[in-house]
């Protein structure tokens, strides 16, 4: 047998009701913004920094080549396959050693390519991930 729910009547001022409504609306809006910020598709953005300073943020939804000039020159490619898979790699660099060019392509949130001589980092960021770190 279904249990009867007791209804109580609470006196509420009109201002209180408006305040509750406003608070709920603001909270809901905040929640929606936060949810969208963490729900990018196709690996979110590529964040490029040089010497710790942000040089650019590029959505991974479109293929492109990015030229970064600092002490050396790096050419970073965002590549998208026909199946929609994204990967990012360093096409060329003028730095000595060229470890960045030999670095494996990156494709997942949190992965990065660095160019040590140019103090450059290119990191996929912005999408929720269930992986905490990458061993390599």
């Amino acid at each position: 047998m279904r249990k009867a729910v007791k209804e109580m009547r609470i006196p509420i001022k009109k201002a209180d009701a408006i305040l509750i409504a406003v608070l709920l609306a603001v909270s809901a809006a905040g929640g929606i913004v936060a949810a969208r910020a963490g729900s990018f598709e196709s690996g979110a953005n590529l964040r490029i920094t040089v010497g710790g300073e942000l040089r650019g943020v590029y959505p991974l939804t479109e293929a492109r080549e990015i030229l970064v000039n600092a002490n050396y020159e790096n050419r970073i490619v965002i590549e998208k396959s026909e199946a929609g898979k994204v990967r990012v790699y360093m096409r060329s660099a003028t730095c000595p050693g060229k470890d960045c060019v030999h670095h494996a392509p990156i494709a997942l949130n949190g992965q990065s390519i660095i160019c040590l001589p140019n103090r450059l980092t290119a990191e996929i960021a912005g999408e929720e991930s269930d992986i905490d770190a990458f061993a390599y």
């Binding site: 729910v5 710790g52 040590l116 061993a135």
Partner: protein, 343 residues
């Protein structure tokens, strides 16, 4: 003031306020990762903490990393390693930390019968992968031949904090193991300062610190070393290793610092016996250990061993590991659960 009443159930009030609280808090859970990074140890080093109060300790851990970098780097003139290398065979007094690291490194030298050897400094200098080696001549066979006799871990005499190189021509290179030692020190520093949840990433050498606040396991992705070169390799990850508490997940691989010339891949893991990049059928070895210094020693040693000897060693010692062969075969040991991914 006129009052009005609305019919409202008690449970409805609870639900409304709970929803309001959850919605307003979901954008800032208080556990948002805060990551601090520095270029140290010839790579990008970062420490991630999960509360604002721990941010200063993330910075402190990186400061510690920088101090050890100066102590152990061959290029650091005032560091202990430089002092030992430049002593011309005379005795040098080093810090407790350097002595402890040397003791561990020499143990791996003995354990591997010299497959892992910190006296490889002269050979490492010839193969300077940080220079534009790809564009210039490779080290000559005669130069390597001349340097090889100086490579022998038994040349290092360690008595307490006093170190002497019996062969004055010998040069130490702690690059194969110092990162792990430093990661362990950083993890201890964080724990001693009450940081209960953190991640240390020294160029892909991972140390998890403490338990995750959500009660789950730490999930560490193991990168597919063949993703860079194999056209038909569709996965950027070999799998994901889940660990609990403070653990090290360390990898040695032949693709991160390497290049191909005339069909031959030249990589940075040098064989102390030959002076050339190790001829191995393994392209990557990832091991899970309590201490990162052990992880570095074991993973490097196993790459040089090759798959058969490495697998035997790891199984005999019950060490959880993921070995990737050059043909793409993946071998796991020590009961490791490395879930395959479809990324």
């Amino acid at each position: 003031m006129k009052k009005f009443c609305i019919g409202i159930k008690k449970t409805t009030i609870v639900i409304l306020f709970s929803a309001a609280f959850l919605m307003s808090s979901c954008g800032d859970s208080g556990n948002e990762p805060i990551r601090k990074s520095e270029f140290l140890l010839d790579t990008l080093c970062s420490v991630t903490v999960f509360s604002k109060e721990d941010e200063k300790f993330a910075e402190g851990a990186l400061d510690l990393c920088a101090r050890y970098d100066a102590l152990f780097a061959r290029s650091s003139r005032d560091g202990d390693v430089s002092k030992i290398n430049e002593a011309g065979g005379r005795e040098t007094t080093v810090t407790d930390d350097t002595a402890a690291l040397l003791e561990t490194a020499l143990r791996y030298g003995a354990l591997s019968d010299g497959a892992f050897d910190i006296t490889i400094g002269r050979i490492s200098s010839l193969w300077d992968f940080s220079s534009d080696l790809e564009a210039r001549d490779l080290p000559s066979a005669s130069d390597i031949e001349a340097a090889l006799p100086s490579v022998n871990y038994r040349n290092v005499e360690l008595l307490g904090n006093r170190v002497r190189l019996k062969d004055p021509a010998t040069r130490l290179d702690l690059g194969g193991i110092a990162k792990g030692f430093i990661a362990d020190k950083m993890a201890s520093y964080l724990a001693e300062n009450g940081v209960s949840e953190a991640l240390i990433d020294l160029g892909g050498n991972i140390v998890t610190v403490g338990e995750k606040s959500d009660g789950g396991s730490w999930r560490v992705g193991v990168k597919n070393p063949l993703f860079a070169v194999s056209e038909d390799s569709t996965s950027s990850l070999i799998g994901v290793i889940e660990v609990e508490g403070t653990k090290s997940v360390g990898t040695s691989g032949v693709y991160e610092r390497s290049f191909v010339r005339d069909g031959t891949r030249y990589h940075h893991i040098l064989d102390p016996k030959t002076g050339f990049p190790a001829r191995t059928d393994l392209v990557g070895v990832t091991v899970v250990t309590e201490r990162s210094v052990d992880g570095e020693g074991i993973s490097t040693m196993c790459v040089i061993f090759g798959s058969a000897r490495a697998q035997e060693y790891l199984e005999q010692n019950g060490i959880p590991a993921v070995l990737v062969k050059e043909d793409g075969t993946v071998i796991t040991t020590g009961g490791i659960d490395c879930a395959m991914t479809e990324e």
